[in-house]
Symmetry: C2
Subunit: 424 residues, 2 copies
């Protein structure tokens, strides 16, 4: 099945807003087995919108548009599509009533232009919008004048605001798709997430051993993110679940400890989950990552139950005052050193009573490097019930990438240690 | 000029990653005067990529592709485009050497497949990649076999990772565009950035007074971001600079203290700059923002010179131990209260000797709210040379938005206070 997505909005073309519909809809559709094969964004202008819809009607079985259903002068999608398909628009009294009700319940007067939202192209199915005033519309284009042999397409128009589009898709569009465009084949997609290993090394490890699965129909994809690589397994058909499962098992064996999670789980969420499951707590002492570790961990709901405290201590004074680092260690070895990383971790662990404590001290740049300790040098310390360890790494990147990569390495060190401690 | 953008990546079509290139490139191009008229995303498969490029070559003067230049088996863009244009690929010894150097400087062995990245289509300009191994490529397609009359197009291929694409675009592509595709008319675009004021209020303040400028050709745009609103002034032609400058002056007068910066300057960078200019220092005591403030500030180069220390203190014990908050204040008023916010800020200021200290305590959610203090309640404290003040706000958003909005409010409070202190 050929599925296409058209996002309309001049603000998208000017780069003023991030297009989140693309990922959200592609993800939901892929999970249902409808893989989007093309996504297009065009400005809110008649010729651009009509051309994009005409081209999509020429090759797709299912087309989604987002945006352009509202009441303002740049909301043109409904009218342009009706025109393109040669269908009249008629006002739907039920929608008029719902729009009026929407404003009454919010104790606001309905602006005059809101009534355009009640216009429905002939033969369209109305998709109710409980979170706004513009309903969605679904049209079966049969016969389809733009496609070879007049083959039919479904055209589904969704409103632009995410808080209207998302519930409408889940509550109304999914059941409609299952009814009017049921899938012929099962579709399965899984992702393994790795950390601490480069994209080409991942492929070197799993590429050849997975060739026989690819020959049987497995699709294999790699996606490098900052300091991490995702490996994606997907397949279609009655054998899909088995094929994906078997290929994943082979990859798990080969990538072993580099795999930190699956599908959508972030490394910080894995760490919070492992700590929560074991009833263990954590403390942080950050110098060069400057709060990045604390910020990432506290993005995870429930982090407050495991994170005792974090200290961001750039200066030597702060390292002494808040973490109890010894002046002699700072003088003898410098702030970016193994002994200081060790004392930072042990200091914050002692003062908070946490089970585990991570420390990071290094040179994020752009300035501050020396020949002996160039920009990118970093020591990561971990104090834990069975002792303290320190890793030296070299991350010569721009400042933000340095923070991201270094915090990945710290979280990964912690993850491995939590697992090792619970095994011992 | 017709500009199109093609993003390749099966992970985009499966909704596994957010397409941030679209916004970033559209924004940079629009600011330079090249407005993108269509953006397309396709999977990493030969026919899809070639069809998208062929269609773009049929109507665009300038085409960007992103992704598919790396070393893995799904990196196909370079080869597919060379094939489509009937150009041979030859290995560039200078790129081979750069790739080898890249791995040597990182003390890692270069995997065998990395060499495909040194293949260059005949006649292509190589765009160096100081942050990765895959160089970008620029090709002038002249004559263009896919376009009416053979009209030429420029095709520019950029690597997928943002930390490689962005510097390459700014350092190499912008000068190339200015040289090979100069704009016929001068184009000027400025942005004023505001904080602490809603989008419709901004429009109410500046809309009517700027109407005469719009009549003279000014384009005015508003863009609401999390807790902030940007106002964009652009114009074309010989009078553009003057028109934008005059309109901006009127808006500066009307929006006054709400304006924190211009163009790409972030609020945290403004705060670091103001402190640096005045030789003042800062300390942080964060509860519910969990390190977000420290992380944002330390993303700014030079932050280490002004940020004395930051403490992330979720628990009452950490508030007492690291910040000296009194047990009675916690018992009597609770951790989310004005007295505790005040003591947190004063405590970290006293212990670090900083000139300014910010504190944040609140309920980020999703759990932890009560009738009296619902999720979203937050107190922001600021201890400064002339005394301490506390603001109570209500930010009922999801966890990450809450952290972003609350840290904006804290930075804005600090910015206004630094300015006020230096006036007094």
């Amino acid at each position: 099945m050929n599925v296409e997505l058209i996002n309309t909005g001049s603000e998208l073309m000017l780069g003023r807003v991030l297009n989140t519909h693309q990922q959200w809809l592609c993800r939901r559709l892929a999970d249902l087995g409808y893989t989007v094969s093309r996504q297009t964004a065009v400005p809110d202008t008649g010729p651009d919108i009509q051309q994009a819809v005409r081209e999509a009607l020429a090759h797709a079985d299912l087309i989604f548009t987002t945006g352009g259903l509202g009441p303002t002068s740049d909301d043109l999608t409904r009218e342009l599509i009706a025109q393109l398909l040669g269908r009249n628009l008629r006002e739907d009294p039920a929608i008029v009533q719902q729009i009026e009700q929407y404003f009454v319940s919010r104790r606001r007067a309905a602006p005059a232009r809101t009534r355009v939202q009640a216009l429905v192209p002939e033969g369209a199915i109305v998709l109710p919008n409980p979170n706004g005033t513009a309903p969605g519309l679904a049209i079966e284009v049969r016969p389809n004048p733009f496609r070879e042999g007049g083959r039919p397409s479904w055209l589904i128009m969704l409103p632009g605001p995410p808080r209207e589009l998302r519930p409408m898709f889940l509550d109304t569009v999914v059941p409609l798709l299952r009814r009017v465009l049921p899938l012929e084949k099962e579709f399965i997609c899984h992702t393994l997430r790795t950390s601490g290993i480069g994209e080409s090394v991942v492929q070197e490890k799993v590429g050849a051993p997975l060739e026989s699965f690819i020959a049987r129909g497995l699709e294999l994809g790699y996606c490098a993110r900052t300091g991490q690589v995702d490996v994606r397994f997907s397949a279609c058909g009655s054998d899909a679940a088995r094929l994906v499962q078997d290929a994943e098992a082979v990859a798990r064996e080969l990538l072993g400890p580099f795999i930190y999670g699956a599908d959508d789980e972030e490394l910080e969420a894995v760490v919070v989950r492992l700590l929560t499951e074991r009833g263990k707590t954590l403390a942080l002492a950050e110098s060069c990552t400057g709060g990045c570790l604390a910020h990432r961990l506290t993005n995870v709901p429930g982090a407050s139950a495991v994170l005792r405290a974090g200290v961001v201590a750039y200066s030597n004074e702060a390292k002494r005052e808040f973490l109890g680092v010894r002046a002699e260690s700072l003088d003898e070895h410098g702030a970016v050193s193994e002994p200081v990383a060790s004392e930072m971790a042990e200091g914050v662990r002692r003062r908070t009573g946490a089970d585990f404590a991570l420390s990071v001290t290094g040179i994020a740049g752009p300035s501050g490097g020396t020949t002996e300790k160039p920009v990118g040098t970093v020591f990561i310390g971990l104090a834990k019930p069975t002792g303290t360890l320190v890793r030296k790494n070299f991350n010569p990147y721009d400042r933000e990438t340095f923070k991201q990569v270094t915090s990945n390495q710290a979280l990964e060190l912690l993850r491995q240690s939590i697992l090792a401690e619970s095994r011992s």
